[in-house]
Subunit: 401 residues, 2 copies
């Protein structure tokens, strides 16, 4: 008998009726002769409500206790789902992260999974039980409850599938992975397949269907991941290792991100130590820098641009203010209305010319770009936010997304 | 440094503001040089809400999963309280039943505490932390979450105090233990002291301030229990072993209970085996019989009366209907408007005449009583509910309650 791990997100289990519907889907799968493990998130906005209570007590609540608090959300869903299955005549067992043997580091609110003692789940499956696991949580070596951070339930599901050596299905409120955001480009196509690498690039660039971390784990342990709507009908997207002989598209996906601003510092002393010092200070302030570019030195000075999260504006201004005490020639310019637009595709590894085709699109359509960075399977540009829709439309047409 | 275990019930922690107030009380105690352990219940009506969700899924939800579900209530309160303490600058740690080392039997929804591995609590106290324990819960030997049943948080608190060899304070929404219900007899006195035995009798007779089970454990391990209002001002009631040389009142308390009906079966064949069979059948039907009385046999027949919970009426009628198939002379009479009135007092052990003083009160005031049973420190009567207030008033006056 094959094993399958399924994950149901917060909207799929938001009400008692929805929990009953999930129970029926699990029973269908069991009756198709599968051993079923289901990982569940907290019901609807439960986690937000719990965090709200914590914030009434403290702006910066103790992380250990925050984990203990918010982990109750998934515990509630899992026990209700197991109850529903038993009520429908199918034996089931609900397990907290601890009971499921999920051992993590002690980095509360963002703990990595270190190991899973899988025996109890295996034993329960062998007894014919549908196993329900509370997602998003584990315990550290001292038995403290931890949570896994953003997208934690996806990570729980993929990690269990890795340990059980079986595929993982993630049911959510979108139909699958799209080549670009259908809200902006309605003709965007749902992908049947995407490689782990492409999905990781897209997820890290802001495609919110699944967290990078879960995909990374899927890649590491070769877990095929299937993402689909929770309606048992519409077909979704497989994330897996793509056969290298398969014909790959040059570009699989296009993502955009409006959360950053672009900082340009003019007249920076051209001294690698001095420039290192600037970036070191930014990193000490926990400011996540991206897309660094630098002009060639003129008269011993360079201009440096980089993108950073919008909420770091004040910190960056403060830092440059301090630097100008000893370097009054330095000038700072911050642009807030910028968008990072990225194209991702395994095909770029073998096909060149993608960057120049996009440069041509920008030139033909009067789209000004400010920065460009590339990786093996990704090219990102910084453009003005006002040009975003036009850029998406033209790139999507050009590459048939 | 002395250790103290305190317990705060659901109304004391019903809101975030109330949780903050409890935190302040704990800090006061810590600053008075105590090592403090606090046991907390679920906030307000949280447990009822969770049970409501379970009942939307099943009329008879899986008990294992029900325990997993409702235990989240206390987990939430404990993590919020520890957060509040840390926010106020006092180190604290919240522990679930499992983390607190509370090992129970596997009788879900009414598990007995088997042992407490107290090391983690002791270590945390030694590190100067205020320890918050989620009440009402534990784990069985396989790590399944269990709950302790009615009054479970009181039992958690007293059991921890037993293990830590320290006193236990239970903060609640009443001022303490009263000689009788102040709602019926406004002159009722709050007791400064009551013995474990008296409290157990009163609790089992329906005085709802603390469960019999917690008092029983207090007696077994000689844990002094203090019950008081959660306002840090009004003095409450101590439950403890009373010094035998202390002057004890003849009667400490008076309780009443309207939850039973009185069943009389006339013309029962006077055969001990036959009578045993009747009571055996009642007990197999989980009907909790009390106050059995039997008349002397006349012509080979006796009349038997007993009290039983009001909701067992149909089952009892059905049973007698079955018995009448082979014993048509048998007749059943069920009276619903009856009240069980009991007086409790250690003094009865040494002073006689209490029963006759009460018989005189009944005779002087036209109060008809139907049954009487006695134990070493208790006398109970069945009377008509219409006479309840008069009986309470007259007995309270006679014995200066």
């Amino acid at each position: 008998m094959s094993i399958i791990v399924q994950k149901y997100g917060g909207t799929s289990v938001a009400t008692i009726d929805k929990i009953k519907s999930v129970a029926k889907l699990l029973i269908e799968r069991k009756e198709a002769k599968y051993k079923v493990v289901a990982v569940v998130s907290a019901m609807g906005n439960t986690t937000d409500k719990l965090i709200g209570m914590a914030n009434e007590i403290s702006k910066n609540p103790s992380k250990r206790e925050l984990d203990m608090l918010i982990s109750t959300g998934e515990q509630i869903t899992s026990s209700l789902l197991a109850m529903a299955l038993k009520e429908m005549g199918h034996d089931s067992i609900a397990l907290t992260g601890f009971q499921a043997g999920i051992v993590t580091g002690n980095q509360h609110t963002k703990a990595p999974i270190l190991d899973i003692h899988i025996d109890r789940i295996r034993r329960s499956l062998d007894q014919g039980k549908i196993v329900i696991v509370a997602g998003f949580q584990g315990v550290d070596e001292y038995g403290n409850i931890t949570t896994l951070g953003r997208g934690g339930s996806d990570t729980t599901a993929v990690a269990l599938a890795a340990k059980l050596e079986c595929p993982c299905e993630i049911y959510t409120d979108v139909k699958g992975i799209y080549s670009t955001d259908p809200a902006i480009y309605p003709d965007a196509k749902k992908l049947d397949y995407i490689s782990y690498e492409e999905m990781m690039e897209m997820a890290s660039l802001g495609a919110k269907v699944i967290e990078t971390r879960a995909v990374e784990m899927g890649k590491k342990y070769s877990v095929p991941i299937y993402i689909a709507l929770n309606d048992g009908k519409t077909s979704g997207t497989y994330i897996k290792e793509l056969d290298e002989f398969m014909e790959t598209k040059v570009i699989t996906g296009l993502t955009t991100n409006d959360d950053d601003l672009m900082v340009t510092i003019n007249n920076v002393l051209y001294d690698p130590k001095y420039i290192y010092d600037i970036f070191h200070r930014l990193s000490s302030m926990d400011i996540n820098i991206d897309m660094i570019s630098q002009t060639a030195p003129v008269g011993g000075y360079v201009n440096i641009s980089f993108t950073a999260p919008k909420d770091s504006k004040d910190s960056i201004n403060k830092l440059v203010g301090e630097l100008r005490i000893t370097a009054r020639e330095m000038k700072i310019d911050i642009q807030e209305d910028i968008t990072k637009i990225s194209v991702v595709g395994l095909g770029m590894k073998t096909q060149s010319g993608v960057a120049s085709r996009i440069f041509k699109i920008f030139a033909d359509n009067d789209i000004e770009f400010k920065q460009v960075t590339t990786s093996e399977i990704r090219i990102s540009y910084t453009i003005n936010t006002k040009d975003k829709e036009k850029a998406i439309l033209k790139i999507a047409e050009e590459f048939n997304l």
